[in-house]
């Protein structure tokens, strides 16, 4: 379970961020590589890839009026290339700016 840094020229994290940022005009975009937490799990045992699991927090106006499933689909659609090239899982928190104001839950 050693932590593998993501120092490749253009990391997956960088690509993910730029894709989401440009299409969804995110006001908050936090992406954590948590691949190390999954390095030993069943599906990953024989995989040498890193950058497979991320936690994503994204806030965008474009989520307004969309169900959670729709929001997740919007993210997945933008990342379909990544999902086909070794990205295994994203934990997604997708909110609208209104939903993250202190009063709203």
């Amino acid at each position: 379970m050693s932590f593998r840094s993501t120092t490749t020229l253009l990391s997956r994290a960088t690509r993910i961020k730029s894709k989401l940022q440009s299409s969804l005009e995110a006001t908050v975009l936090e992406l954590d590589d948590v691949s190390y937490q999954h390095a030993g799990h069943a599906a990953m045992k024989e995989s040498s890839e890193n950058e497979t699991h991320f936690n994503l927090k994204i806030v965008s106006d474009k989520f307004e009026g969309q169900s959670l499933v729709k929001r997740h689909r919007m993210v997945y659609d933008l990342l379909s290339d990544e999902l086909q090239s070794g990205l295994h899982a994203l934990s997604i928190v997708a909110k609208t700016p209104k939903e993250i104001t202190p009063d709203a839950k």
Partner: protein
């Protein structure tokens, strides 16, 4: 061997086929490398070609027959991924029958489920035939009370 299915699943639909012939023998040796997209060469030979039932039919039948249907990595009593584990934990808060298939055991089924729901990751939860989402969504619906609402008319498990 029965662990491929969890309580309540319609055993007739897949158990027999999935555990047939060469696949049966290979299950343990290939369990790990079976996974994703990287080991297509080692996929078990198709076991459905002659059965007249396609995998997408099976998925369709699954979600129709099982009020709460879960496609996951591992089995409910032994999930093999944190997200699958989370989905199971949430759903077990409710007194409803839970049916599940282990997609690590069959890459073809995995692809069929992905194609069926147009959703790229696992776990995937279906309630009363409706695609609900993955673990983040199920957890969120649990927290907001939506999940309770969705599950309320499902007959409790025996």
């Amino acid at each position: 061997m029965a662990t491929i299915l969890f309580k309540g699943i319609a055993a007739r639909s897949l158990t027999a086929r999935l555990t047939s012939s060469c696949y049966y023998g290979m299950r343990y040796s290939t369990k790990v490398s079976n996974d994703p997209d990287t080991h297509d060469d080692f996929k078990p030979a198709s076991k459905l070609e002659n059965s007249g039932t396609s995998l997408s039919d099976i998925v369709e039948q699954d979600v129709k027959d099982n009020p709460v249907m879960l496609y996951m990595k591992g089995v409910p009593d032994f999930p093999q991924c944190g997200f699958s584990s989370l989905a199971v934990k949430v759903l077990k808060q409710y007194d409803v029958p839970l049916s599940a298939r282990n997609i690590l055991e069959d890459p073809e089924l995995k692809n069929a489920v992905k194609a069926f729901s147009h959703w790229p990751t696992f776990p995937q939860v279906f309630i009363k035939g409706e695609f609900i989402g993955g673990s983040d969504i199920v957890l969120n619906m649990h927290q907001t009370g939506e999940l309770k609402e969705k599950l309320k008319d499902i007959v409790p498990k025996q």
